[in-house]
Symmetry: C2
Subunit: 170 residues, 2 copies
DNA sequence: CTTGGAATGTCAACAACACTGACATATGCT
DNA sequence: AGCATATGTCAGTGTTGTTGACATTCCAAG
């Protein structure tokens, strides 16, 4: 586990990428890239009374309009108290609408208002611009590999959630 | 920018990956994968009085022993007050040693003690195990693409820092 | 040798975002 | 009627980040 050259002993070509050094580079790449990933929306949000949590909520409500609070909770992986704090401000500010469920009146279905959609667009455009650039520079094959590795990195449950969203989108 | 099918009009093969839907999938993949990325160390740290910030500090001190506080500051991208709070507890608990610089006595050079190295190992082993699994499942080509995209996603400065660390490691 | 600036450390206050635990309300199901 | 579910809320706490202000130490230029 900590010998520093796992795998490379047997085959210098196919297993070289599993050395501890390669793994560490992957770890650091994730760390630095995630900073870039959130940098642009963070800059926009810093000028408002909102933070990264609001961005996430708005993103997934836009992604799955009418989603319930419970569903959003499982996607975001936070407690209801934490999500509620964010949702409350978004509803108060008129960015999110909460409608009582028709079949099950205990549920609240969440939708973005026009203002909410505008904010989502603003944040997503900034984030997408960077990803688009990165994807374009890296090329289609690199992007495919990127996604393959990320999917393999997720917890089982998150992977299911991700796939469900993916299938519903296109 | 928001027409939902950037590029795909002209060429269904090579530019398909730049649609807004593809970009959104990439964004969500990053979000879910990063949760998996930090999940294992977080579980270990939850039982101690430490958090993710301590993990990051310990990681980069281990990576570049003798690094100065200022250097660590630029790597981590936080304020000195924030880093200092973390470093103080690590030093108090005997995990990190701070040595006054020989040539420039204003500088403090940071080293892990034996206990500090033990913690770093414990945390990194947990994180590396997941990355190793993901890399192995995805294969060398996917890993190469993964790294290419992540590097393209970094800010310019972070990319320099990342490269410097990468070159010093192997 | 004095002075300016750089590197570091520290104090205080604050904000964002997460957590736990407890409790209330409305609703659905058996 | 009674239990479970979905949601909301209040109170308290912890980690991590921020600003702003200030002290100390020390190098280096004048």
């Amino acid at each position: 586990m900590t010998d520093g050259r796992a795998g490379s002993i047997h085959n210098g070509e196919t297993l070289l990428f599993l050395t501890d050094e390669q793994l560490r580079q992957g770890i650091e790449a994730m760390f630095f890239a995630y900073r870039g990933f959130t940098a642009d929306p963070d800059r926009i949000l810093a000028d408002m009374a909102y933070g990264r949590a609001h961005h996430r909520a708005v993103h997934f409500i836009n992604r799955a309009p009418g989603t319930t609070v419970n569903n959003l909770l499982s996607i975001l992986g936070v407690t209801k108290q934490s999500l509620n704090r964010v949702l409350r401000t978004l509803i108060e500010d008129g960015l999110v609408e909460s409608r009582v469920g028709e079949s099950d009146k205990r549920e609240r279905h969440l939708f973005l208002t026009e203002d909410g959609k505008a904010l989502e667009q603003k944040l997503s455009d900034a984030q997408r611009a960077r990803i688009r650039m990165a994807f374009r520079d890296a090329g289609p094959e690199a992007v495919a590999g990127f996604r393959t590795v990320l999917e393999a990195m997720m917890d089982r449950e998150m992977h299911h959630t991700y796939q469900r969203l993916k299938d519903s989108g296109s």
